[in-house]
Amino acid sequence: MTDEKKPCDPSDRDRIRVEYDRDWRRELRRSMTPKDRIRIPRQPMPQRDAFTRGRDFAEVNLGLSPEAARSEARRCLDCAAPGCISGCPVAIDIPTFIKQIERGEFAAAGRTLKTTNSLPAVCGRVCPQETQCESVCNLKRAAGVPVAIGHLERFAADFERSAASAPCCRPDPGAVKVAVVGSGPAGLTAAGELARKGYAVTVFEALHEAGGVLAYGIPEFRLPKEVLRAEVECLRGLGVEMRLNFIVGRTATLDQLRDEGFRAFFIGTGAGLPNFMKIPGENLVGVYSANEYLTRVNLMRARDFPAVDTPVPRARRAAVIGGGNVALDSVRTARRLGAEPAMIIYRRSRQEMPARIEEIKHAEEEGVEILLLTAPVCYKGDEKGRLRSMVCLRMELGAPDSSGRRRPVPIPGSEFEIEIDLAVVAVGQSPNPLLFECQPELRRGRWGTIEVEENTLAASAPGVFAGGDIVRGGATVILAMGDARRAAAGIEAYLREEHDS
């Protein structure tokens, strides 16, 4: 699997060309010179101030106003050869939706998003546009600052969500049944694509809410639950059936589902198994995986304990180990639950932190401390087995490793101890092996991922396709969605061929 920008396929290209040539687009292009467009400053994202937002779980970013959105949309040059689309794994017709915003046709812009992206309100909030579409926006090359595509995506999707009544359609009674395993962004996208192609889609989800990481991992201050729920409702409106509390591999195996008439499968079970560091003291009370900590707070809503029944520790001094989005979500959560200090412990330097720059900035504004070039060695507890402190080592950067990043090397004798009563380990996740116990025939890669064929994402069992984190290891929402879209095309081709033969 590769992450590089895929040129969009021919049908996408035709669709985009038709829109580009419409009369209103030509007129709009002519209404303002590129020079004038370039001169318009990029609209900042309005956000709640760090002091108040650091105490609750309401959303940090507020979204653009219609005026700001139209002004931002005017910056887009509506290029003949737009870079942005090739940077989008689901090939959103970016210039079209932006120009619809410029014209004030916000609902139409939302519909444009939905033709290739089943979860635009989610993507507009959590996608790393700075490394996807915005990194290849022609305006970035011309003026240094790309169009705020992500902010505009969020704007249009939110408008559509508040205005639109969910479409209601049912698949034909005779439609071919396809099963989707896992309701993360990969599963939801596959479900949406397949439903639009006319299949009868059932999503099987182990947990009691649909969304995968979007439901249990990403906190509400970045992605409010109601945004996710609305997108899921929309899929239900397309006729997708959601079977929650259904653990494929335990409640039923793929073979049993096949016997029930499912003709093809999309596996999007994600990378849910939390990694630990295997250092002494990791099983002390007070040491959590990021998944557990975030699941308690988000999915189980433990922040409202005792009004809800699931508890979560109210730490005084919290340390989160890791430097990615997961670590930042955890530390900002701990901060909101009252931790002082709430620290990030990261073994490399700031440049290597994989988290989005925006998240790091937000975290620091909220009072999060970041300890760089530091790695934990062990945890120490009291006589009751409760976490009391953490011993760390200072690191320095040595020669680059296989990932191209400079390898952190411990400085001998630099141990120091930090007093903490909460440690959250956010050092990556592996594929959840639950499904494989009953499907040993599925060929798997080195890290326990499913091996798939590059173009169709077909796995080694007939009619089984896979995408998202289960194939890539930990990746991103939009890469998972891109996979799902290609896999849906693969499934369609597979079912046609099966039908013909």
Partner: protein, 277 residues
């Protein structure tokens, strides 16, 4: 939503719960558990599967009232609905011909071991049940076991009872009378699991415990249920819940089970204040 078909007190503090969950009922195997959630504000509570009926589409569990969630469960009745009933979860117990199998069960474990007893009997094993109860009137499902077991020993603290001691003390006594004892299965409160494991260790008897650490999802996604087995960290919900009792780090399990004691008391006090007159 999962309809409750029956919720009945078996003996003081122990209740039976039978829920309509047809897909789960079709897939149950001995030693597995379900996750239930009472309402959207509830927690996910793991309960061992005590029986199932694939035809009726029902799953049965027996639970002990200990805290808020089990208090709430005990107030539900037939016709009420559970927000979640997911499963079966966990690896099934190993069922084979072991010769004689000693089942040591206390509290909810008497019910939890029943499916394994049934399957072990079918596999041709001789079965001995050693039930641990505080008092004789707390024993339940004796009738069910009578059909399966060759011998039933009740360790109760009733004055004058034949085994007036804890099951863990009675174990070696009972084991001594069994010639081809191949395995011991233990289910119930964590102290019983630990004490029986310690008692069988010097006898070299293979002892499988159904471990019950605190869980959240039950699908291997969070690591709340991690425990040290022979020095390695394992997730009880996907690698277990059955483990070799001689390999379990018991002090760690007890500490991790006590992680939320203050919160649990707070939650229970609040619940009682709101619900008791």
């Amino acid at each position: 939503m999962y309809e409750i078909l029956e919720r009945r007190r078996l003996v003081p503090n122990l209740h039976l719960l039978r829920v309509r969950a047809p897909e789960t009922a079709r897939a149950c195997r001995p030693g597995q558990f379900i996750m239930v959630m009472i309402g959207p504000d509830g927690e996910r509570v793991p309960l061992s599967i005590a029986d199932w009926d694939a035809v009726e589409g029902s799953v049965t569990a027996v639970f002990l009232i200990v805290g808020t969630s089990t208090q709430k469960l005990a107030r539900l009745r037939a016709g009420d609905r559970l927000h979640v009933c997911a499963g079966p979860l966990g690896k099934p117990s190993e069922i084979a011909g072991f010769g004689t199998v000693l089942l040591v069960a206390g509290c909810y474990g008497i019910a939890a071991l029943y499916p394994a007893a049934r399957a072990l009997r079918q596999a041709g094993n001789r079965l001995v049940l050693l039930a641990d109860v505080k008092a004789g009137h707390l024993l339940y499902w004796e009738d069910r076991y009578r059909n399966l077991c060759d011998r039933i020993v009740v360790a109760s603290r009733d004055p004058g009872a034949p085994f007036q001691e804890f099951a863990s003390h009675a174990v070696s006594n009972v084991a001594a009378k069994e010639a081809s004892l191949g395995r011991v299965l233990v289910s119930g409160c964590a102290y019983l699991l630990a004490a029986v494991s310690e008692a069988t260790r010097p006898l070299g008897l293979r002892t499988i415990v159904s471990l019950n650490p605190i869980m959240v999802d039950g699908t291997g996604m969070c690591g709340a249920c991690r425990c040290s087995i022979g020095g390695n960290t394992r997730f009880a919900c996907v690698d277990g819940p059955d483990f070799d009792g001689h390999q379990v780090d018991w002090p760690e399990l007890f500490r991790r089970r006590a992680a939320y004691l203050d919160d649990e008391v707070r939650s229970l006090c609040r619940f009682e204040k709101e619900s008791l007159p």
